[in-house]
Amino acid sequence: MEKDIVLEAIHVSKTFKDPISVKVIKDNTFTIRQGEFVSITGKSGCGKSTLLYILSTMDTDYEGDLMIAGETMRGKTENQLARIRNEKIGFVFQFHYLLNEFTVLDNVMLPGLKLNRWPEEEVRQRALEKLEILGIKELAGKMANLISGGEKQRVAIARALINDPSIIMCDEPTGNLDVKNGLMVFDIFKELAEKKQQTLLVVTHDLEFANNTHRIIEMEDGRIISH
């Protein structure tokens, strides 16, 4: 039985108009299904990150259509898109982007509180659960700027998980980490995908990482050459 389509890109193109008109993403169509662990690879400057930010709904300047959980992202207001990101998408970036003013627990809780689906106490419980899955529950009370780089990235993953998103998007999640921490992050992703059926879309130029995912989307010069 075919699994539900989580994300669908239909003829997605993007053109940089300044200083001269350059087409950086060229007419890409592909789908990602529930539970898939997908990586996008390609050389630097091939447009893989640009594509990811279009898929993330943060970049709205593109042609074509984007469907997330069966819903088109075309013609949505900024507030509606923010809501969709909050509810359906989790993000992990190369840099952790934790709020240094808050504790680890607060950082994980923020998107949950913003979603406002569960009462605060329940969000706290969920956040602690997520931290436990990632093996860093004991860090919950620490300030975010007082933990190590690998730990920070794991907190960022916990934050991405808090609202049970349809898909987690990652931009070079291991790019800033040493080998040991990079492997650990990979294992976490693998486990999430296989045990929890969490859909993951990872942009990486780390071929070893990509080869271990379920499916590789390879890009060259703004175009997907295999998927």
Binding site: A82, L113, N116
Partner: protein, 419 residues
């Protein structure tokens, strides 16, 4: 949007840079403090200076002026009704200075609801004899009780008991300057000569100091009866009726009405003392503009600090937006930050402003011309506190508006990809 969450984030950002925040808040506090202290002090001084004259001036004064009769015979002639009649060198008529039919007028005034009180008065020009020297002076015949109630007469009597001029026959309260010239002490007897060359001896029962030397050198006060006796006039002789109204703004209208009703001259306080009104208005204007300038400067401080905070917190703003906070949410976070600075700084400023005013109020301010004033005058008007509070919130809101807008417009892609 969850108010509690927005507030929590605003608070965290604020406390993360608490030193900057404090500086911004102190800017507002300073502005409000000075605003309150300045306005309280300036208004206090204004009221004092105005009071110097206005407290002792009737709102409406009824009297008969020495002037030419407007009804000249030629105007009554049928032959010239259609022409302009130019008459030169008209002399003032030898009319009486007294207010005619004063008893009936008094009765009518007491019926008038707009009138708060009436103090009748007689002005008599006399010479004070000091050996061979004659000093010109004026004796004001007053009803001492009415005069004290309406025009604070008793406040300005620096020596002796005001009521003595009513209770002791042939007594007088001399202006301090006049007494110095006459070398008279309380209990002494001074001699006066009236315009009709009649001599009287009057007992000095007190001194009077108005705050204006020119007045103190000339004026003196006696009871109505004593003055009537000096002038050789009957008991209903009154030259001035000083009226105080419940609402001072009605004075010009009431004066106009009485002029027709009682057929006397009537002068209202606004006409008589126009320059005082202007002075007060200008002084208030200056204090308000200085106060508001201070607040605007504080506003620029907040603007700067918020702008800096936004540059520092670009990453945080970007990730908030990536994880589902909309531009409006970010906007609100920064508006809350600005308003918190304004509210906190403003409230502290109101408190400090009060303390400052209170301190100024304790500073001794003794001057011989103002016998009732012991310390600097302060007007603790709640309106100033209200204006200060409202302005602190408005300025900080305006100062926060543009940085908050800028923060809400930050494109998270640019920030996140830029790393």
């Amino acid at each position: 949007m969850n108010f509690k969450l927005t507030f929590k984030i605003a608070k965290a950002l604020l406390l993360a840079r608490w030193k900057q925040t404090l500086v911004a808040a102190i800017g507002v506090t300073f502005g409000i403090t000075m605003f309150i202290a300045l306005l309280s002090f300036m208004t206090g001084l204004n009221d004092l200076l105005d009071g110097l004259v206005l407290n002792r001036t009737a709102h409406v004064r009824l009297f008969n002026d020495v002037k030419p009769n407007p009804h000249q015979p030629i105007n009554g002639s049928d032959a010239y009704t259609d022409s302009y009649n130019f008459i030169r060198s008209i002399k003032s008529e030898n009319s009486r200075l007294e207010v005619y039919n004063s008893g009936a007028i008094l009765q009518a005034l007491r019926q008038d609801k707009r009138v708060k009180g009436i103090a009748p008065k007689i002005t008599a020009q006399v010479f004070f004899n000091d050996g061979a020297v004659e000093i010109t002076g004026v004796i004001n015949g007053i009803d001492v009780v009415a005069e004290s109630n309406l025009f604070h007469f008793a406040d300005y009597v620096v020596e002796g008991v005001p009521l003595d001029i009513r209770d002791v026959s042939n007594s007088i309260i001399l202006g301090k300057g006049l007494a110095d010239k006459l070398q008279a002490n309380v209990g002494d007897v001074v001699h006066v000569t009236t315009g009709k060359q009649q001599q009287f001896s009057l007992k000095v029962v007190g001194f009077f100091q108005s705050g204006m030397q020119e007045i103190d050198k000339i004026q003196s006060y006696a009871s109505l009866a004593t003055t009537q006796k000096i002038m050789g006039k009957p008991g209903n002789y009154i030259t001035d009726l000083q009226i105080k109204l419940t609402n001072i703004d009605q004075a010009p209208m009431v004066a106009k009405e009485y002029r027709h009703l009682f057929n006397t001259d009537a002068e209202d306080i606004q006409t008589a003392n126009a320059h005082y009104e202007t002075g007060s208005a200008v002084r208030s204007l200056i204090s308000y503009s200085v106060g508001i300038t201070l607040l605007i400067v504080a506003g620029f401080g907040i603007y700067n600090i918020l702008n800096m905070m936004i540059y520092e917190k670009m990453d945080s703003i970007a990730i908030l937006k990536a994880t589902g906070f909309s531009g409006n949410d970010v906007n609100r976070i920064f508006i809350y930050i600005a308003l918190s600075i304004g509210l906190f700084g403003g409230l502290l400023g109101l408190g400090l402003g009060y303390v400052f005013s209170y301190i100024i109020d304790q500073i001794p301010f003794v001057t011989p011309s103002l016998p009732t004033v012991k310390t600097y005058p302060i007007d603790y008007n709640p309106v100033f506190y209200f204006i200060g509070g409202v302005f602190s919130v408005i300025t900080t809101f305006l100062a926060g508006w543009s940085p908050a807008r800028k923060a809400s417009k930050i494109d998270p892609v640019i920030i996140i990809r830029g790393k």
